[in-house]
């Protein structure tokens, strides 16, 4: 008997017991559905994060004081000399750092902000006037700081949309309104567009003020040498493919300024977006593998379910096997029949699981509108192939048992 005939017999046997077939498939259905959904979701999150970084601004480098080893956590005083306005200005030297196109400076802190009626504890960022261009921060109303504000240490503020909601619940456009940061009064001159939560912080919930004002009036930060400290320097490379050269130049300039001896470690950290993206990708990859492993375990359990049912089925159908042998079935005919039954169960289950995974993917798209999940073809291929293997592997033992039955005993 050929494989086609075996397949016919197997399909007939499965369709004659539909409920049991469906229940047997359930494990595989859920397993494959989970694999497909999770992997699609993983890809969607990866795409989302990539987009986020694109929105921060490409070819951007972050320079932060201290190193990841020495930093004791966000907000704690960094070891080493820290970063100063002078450090940032030095990066603009066209001879020392030719691949750095622009820098913008930021000093962060937090304080109580009062709008007269409402009060909130908020993040405050003192930034250079070119911050909005480098960080791709658009305004929905008003204007950003200019050089004049910077020089004059003006008490003006640009606030995020969430800050508007918190401080001015009744005024959607609080331009020219007064707010107090600590004791210092500020005038609102602009409102930022909503950017949504990013990977690290929600920039919609920040009050931006000119860096000079922050350094003199809000968070006085004059260093030992009379220079002002800053929290982070954003440096823009001349182009995306020059970012690693720019990073190297920044490192050299800062090592020189900080008088770090050759062989000693940096007291600052330069991170390129590509690095952040890569490490975020690593984390995501690990999470995806982890979720995939959980899903694979459920596939395995599904496979054991198939084996269990197939063994029961062999016992239950002993007479049938005996009869088939009596009318001429060879060992391999019986083995093929049961193998095909279990593979068909697994593959059909896998196919239904893929459909389930597709629905799950669509569901995630509906629930999380930020994500744009697409069905991972790789996951579909992997899950279906794996489920076929599971069916084959867990079918071998029951099928061999069925094939080995002695027709005389089986017919008794």
């Amino acid at each position: 008997m050929g494989l086609m005939a075996s397949a016919q017999v197997a399909l007939r046997a499965l369709s004659s017991n539909k409920l049991r077939s469906a229940l047997t498939m359930l494990g595989i259905i859920i397993g494959v559905g989970a694999v497909v959904t999770l992997m699609s979701a993983g890809n969607a999150v990866r795409g989302f994060i990539t987009d986020q970084f694109q929105s921060i601004g490409s070819n951007l480098l972050f320079v932060a004081p201290g190193t990841f080893e020495t930093q004791r956590g966000p907000g704690s005083a960094p070891s080493g000399k820290g970063l100063t306005n002078g450090d940032a200005n030095a990066l603009l030297d066209p001879f020392l750092a030719p691949d750095v196109a622009a820098v913008t400076l930021e000093l962060t802190g937090s304080d109580v902000v009062d709008s007269g009626g409402e009060e909130a504890f908020l993040s405050i960022s003192g930034v250079s006037p070119n911050y909005s261009e480098l960080r791709n921060a658009g305004l929905s109303a008003g204007r950003f700081f200019n050089i004049g504000d910077q020089v004059a240490e003006s008490r003006v503020a640009v606030i995020g949309p969430i800050v508007v909601d918190e401080l001015f619940p009744e005024n959607a456009l609080p331009i020219d309104e007064q707010i107090r940061i600590g004791d210092v009064p500020f005038r609102v001159i602009g409102i930022l567009e909503s950017r949504g939560g990013s990977a690290f912080a929600n920039e919609d919930n920040v009050v931006y003020i000119p860096l000079s004002t922050a350094q003199t009036r809000v968070f006085p930060s004059r260093g030992s040498r009379g220079d002002f400290h800053i929290s982070v320097i954003y440096a823009q490379a001349v182009s995306e493919d020059r970012t690693s050269e720019a990073a190297e130049q920044i490192e050299n300039v800062l090592r020189q300024r900080h008088e770090i001896m050759p062989g000693d470690d940096d007291d600052f950290t330069v991170i390129s977006q590509a690095e952040i993206l890569a490490s975020a990708g690593d984390v995501l990859g690990v999470i995806t593998i982890f979720l995939g492993a959980i899903a694979a375990i459920s596939l395995l359990v599904g496979g054991i379910g198939i084996m269990n049912i197939m063994l029961v089925s062999v016992t239950e159908r002993t007479r049938e096997i005996g009869l088939r042998k009596a009318v001429g079935a060879r060992r391999q005919d019986i083995r093929n029949q049961f193998l095909i039954e279990s593979v068909v169960l697994a593959v059909v289950g896998g196919a239904i699981g893929v459909v389930l995974g597709l629905l799950g993917t669509l569901g995630i798209g509906l629930l999380a509108s930020d994500l744009n999940p697409t069905l991972s073809l790789q996951a579909v291929a992997l899950a279906t192939g794996f489920s076929a293997l599971v069916g084959l592997f867990f079918g071998i033992y029951p099928a061999t048992r069925a094939a080995a039955l002695n027709p005389i005993d089986a017919l008794r």
Binding site: Q8, V9, R12, G322, A326, V327, G328, R330, R331, I408
Partner: protein, 261 residues
């Protein structure tokens, strides 16, 4: 009844010739000598019954003749081919091509139509789809179930189920049909109907039929009775005026010995 078998058994030599067949098996620690040297021949076109008390070796003999088991010693020629030493797959092939089985408990596949049940042996013999269906339909017509082809076994009476089983035994045009207590699970009327079909196949189509029975009345519908006891043939008797199924009334207190004599 129209002629079914195209090749009316006319080959030279007997269909079955066994010589000194022995079979011993272990039942736990106990050695059971089920067959202790059995020899006989069955001519083509024969209709015979094997009788004997339980434990006489009937089942063992049937298993050997049916190529479901192998003898320890002795020779078994099926249509002049020695089959006593074949391996499992070769035996499966012999069963598929040359033998038909009818069981006491019918052994039809549940949830499967009469037609599909009849197609089963042909599936394993590699008969192509269309021909399979045609031959199964013809066999079912032959046993009078033309109007029951799409029925499942649980929609058929016992007698009808056994007729499906006979049709199934017929489809591969076997050299011999083995019927193991074919009437054992049937009421006497259905039982006689089944015997009538088997008798008809033998008389009209020349198909060789061997049936195992406990029932002396059934045995009297055959031409020859082999009696088995303690693993040996103790009597091999010809019946000169076999009863015609459906015509003879079952005697209330039958004495087979008297009839044969």
């Amino acid at each position: 009844m129209e002629a079914y078998s195209s090749v009316v058994a006319s080959s030279n030599g007997p269909v079955i010739a066994v010589k000194d067949l022995t079979r011993t098996y272990l039942l736990g620690e106990v050695e059971v000598r089920a067959l202790r040297g059995v020899s006989f021949e069955i001519e083509a076109g024969g209709l015979l019954a094997v009788m004997g008390p339980s434990g006489s070796g009937k089942s063992t003999l049937m298993n050997l003749l049916g190529c479901l088991d192998k003898p320890d010693s002795g020779s078994y020629l099926l249509e002049s081919e020695e089959v006593g030493r074949l391996n499992d797959d070769q035996l499966a092939r012999i069963r598929s091509r040359k033998l038909g089985f009818v069981f006491q408990t019918f052994n039809l596949l549940a949830r499967t139509t009469a037609l599909a049940n009849c197609e089963l042996p042909m599936l394993y013999a590699g008969v192509p789809n269309g021909e399979r269906r045609e031959r199964a339909e013809r066999a079912l017509e032959l046993v009078g179930l033309a109007d029951r082809m799409k029925h499942h076994p649980n929609e058929l009476s016992g007698g009808q189920q056994q007729r499906v089983a006979i049709a199934r035994a017929l489809v591969n045009d076997p050299a011999i049909i083995f019927a193991d207590e074919p009437t054992g699970n049937l009421d006497s009327k259905s039982g006689i109907e089944v015997i009538e079909i088997l008798q008809g196949l033998n008389r009209n189509d020349g198909i060789t039929v061997l049936l195992v029975t406990h029932d002396p009345f059934i045995a009297r519908h055959t031409d020859r009775v082999l009696r088995l006891q303690d693993g040996r043939i103790v009597a091999d008797e010809a019946i000169h005026h076999a009863l015609i199924a459906g015509e003879a009334e079952r005697p209330s207190n039958l004495d087979l010995e008297e009839e044969i004599a």
